[in-house]
Symmetry: C2
Subunit: 331 residues, 2 copies
């Protein structure tokens, strides 16, 4: 993608930032916003929830595929889903951005707009309160997000109970399908599946649904690295095993069949919709456990149940489901 106009380096950090932060809106809970040594954010509850997540060029995104807007948007959403998975309301973000030295100011301003738009659409009470801008060899975005628990208890990964239902709130495998479409040898394929590609580039986990799930969930996490790996983490932290049912996951794979066929018709057997569903990351949907028999929020789906700890963390129709998701070091 092409970004015209002056380079950030021609403007200097102060001026470049001053122009970019004009995109940011303030919220009443921010007592001191950006521009001082630190920001001050008034929470309702003195228990602050904090998470941080980094996106790196060519590891987590490619500049051929992602616009500046996409990268800003995604950086925010991946962090907000972590807060919501704890049962917290997003209240503030800080953004450390490293850009290659020839980056255009117009890129920076569109990135800032992506950050703000994600907040506007998904967390209007959350402000971008500070950050850092510097140059480096490759583009890096490190976001830290702060959340407020109100008077709720945090929802952990470690508190699933035997007999609970295992549920998913949100899509599974769509972001991975989008990635496969972008990677396909036939570069026109991606255009045929804009929804899937869109979820890869600008994930939109349903934070309102996640917030509702958190009210009743006995345990919860966001699925960032794929169902198999993240379910294994939840099982391990909770000292239980999870028995998932393929029949309950069929709805997720069915909507991806056509995309998988399209890719495989060009490069046979290169992808599988079940691989996307079971092992694909980046939808940032929610995995949770619910007390048996409790009413599920509309949009959440049961995919299995919590059983006593066995030799494996996760089973699919009685067979061990080996974790095969994303490791940020080994890929």
């Amino acid at each position: 993608m092409k970004y015209e106009g002056p380079k950030i380096i021609e403007l200097g950090e102060r001026e470049a930032l001053a122009r970019a932060v004009k995109a940011f809106k303030s919220v009443p809970s921010t007592l001191v916003g950006s521009g001082d040594d630190a920001a001050v954010v008034a929470l309702d509850d003195p228990r602050v929830v904090v998470t941080t997540d980094t996106m790196i060029e060519n590891h987590d995104f490619k500049l051929e595929w992602s616009s500046a807007f996409d990268i800003g948007f995604k950086a925010v959403m991946t962090n907000l889903s972590d807060l919501v998975a704890m049962g917290a309301r997003p209240r503030a973000l800080t953004v450390a951005l490293i850009v290659p030295n020839q980056t255009a100011q117009s890129w920076l301003e569109e990135f800032a707009l992506g950050l703000q738009t994600a907040c506007d659409q998904h967390a209007p009470q959350c402000e971008i309160v500070g950050g850092d801008l510097a140059t480096g060899d490759q583009l890096v975005v490190a976001v830290t997000a702060l959340g407020d628990l109100g008077d709720s208890a945090p929802v952990l990964r470690s508190t699933a109970k035997v007999g609970d239902q295992v549920i998913v709130a949100g899509t599974l495998g769509k972001a991975a399908a989008g990635l496969s479409l972008l990677q396909a040898a036939d570069s026109t394929l991606a255009d045929s599946y804009p929804e899937l590609v869109g979820i890869q580039l600008r994930p939109v986990p349903d934070l309102a649904l996640g917030t509702e799930v958190a009210r009743t969930a006995t345990s919860m996490m966001d699925i960032s690295d794929g169902l198999s790996l993240d379910a294994d983490r939840l099982a391990s932290k909770s000292n239980v095993s999870l028995a998932l049912k393929r029949s309950l996951l069929e709805g997720y794979s069915a909507v991806l069949e056509l995309a998988a066929q399209s890719i495989n018709s060009r490069t046979p057997n290169s992808v599988s919709e079940w691989n996307w569903v079971l092992h694909g990351g980046e939808d940032h949907s929610f995995l949770a456990t619910f007390p048996a028999g409790s009413q599920l929020p509309r949009g959440a789906k049961v995919i299995g149940e919590v059983i006593e700890l066995k030799e494996h963390g996760v089973f699919l129709d009685q067979e061990p489901l080996t974790a095969a998701g994303w490791d940020s070091i080994r890929g």
Copy 2:
């Protein structure tokens, strides 16, 4: 510096992190530490103070000069000084680390020890509660720090009053002198001034003194980019000018004279102790304003006074002092 043993990439993110975080100590205020979607930290006060700062290989440090321990230590101290400059007590840190893919696990573990040692020595109530580890083209450390205001008001940059004394708490120019020594053509020079080089590699702003200053200061900030630039920022935010006196700064330059002479005897006129004092960054000392006549904490020094806004933000003996500090984009 040499780091032996297995590479991080051979271990994978999970195992590499699990070994490194063993260096971290927990504190009682951390309700949920690392290992979940987010951490939960109990503050005394629901106003959370948050700051973030990034260090990039070859921009902010060089691996020939800085050990893994140094880099971890410095990343923590630069963030803690920002919290203290707001009048906040450090309570939690998150650390996003990007390492080149051939980095040894022993490097990572020494880095973690540097992080923890800075907390142990300077902020024992502060815990490293989370973070992120990934590989990239160059080493990047992005730290976010959370602070607690207790029942104090935050100390801003924007509230200096005409008639206040301008004060400094901590060293000025030593970190810059250390950098010049490391950069000197004669590589044995650095060994002759271990204190100055030490402050460059592992800055130790006096956080206890800063905390005491914050109790009375009418305005305050940390001096990260050099006195001239940071004083100008404070003046600009407060809509005042600052009249500094050279005679009051002589103590800072006197202790750097010998180092400057040593460098200049090899490369004539390459450095000046006054340049270090006026424009050198990275000591992370505190710049503050105090009501006229109020008692100064031991260790704080008056360097001038706050005057009405004039054409320039900062004057040195009636002459405009042009900001010449560090811009993270332009250097």
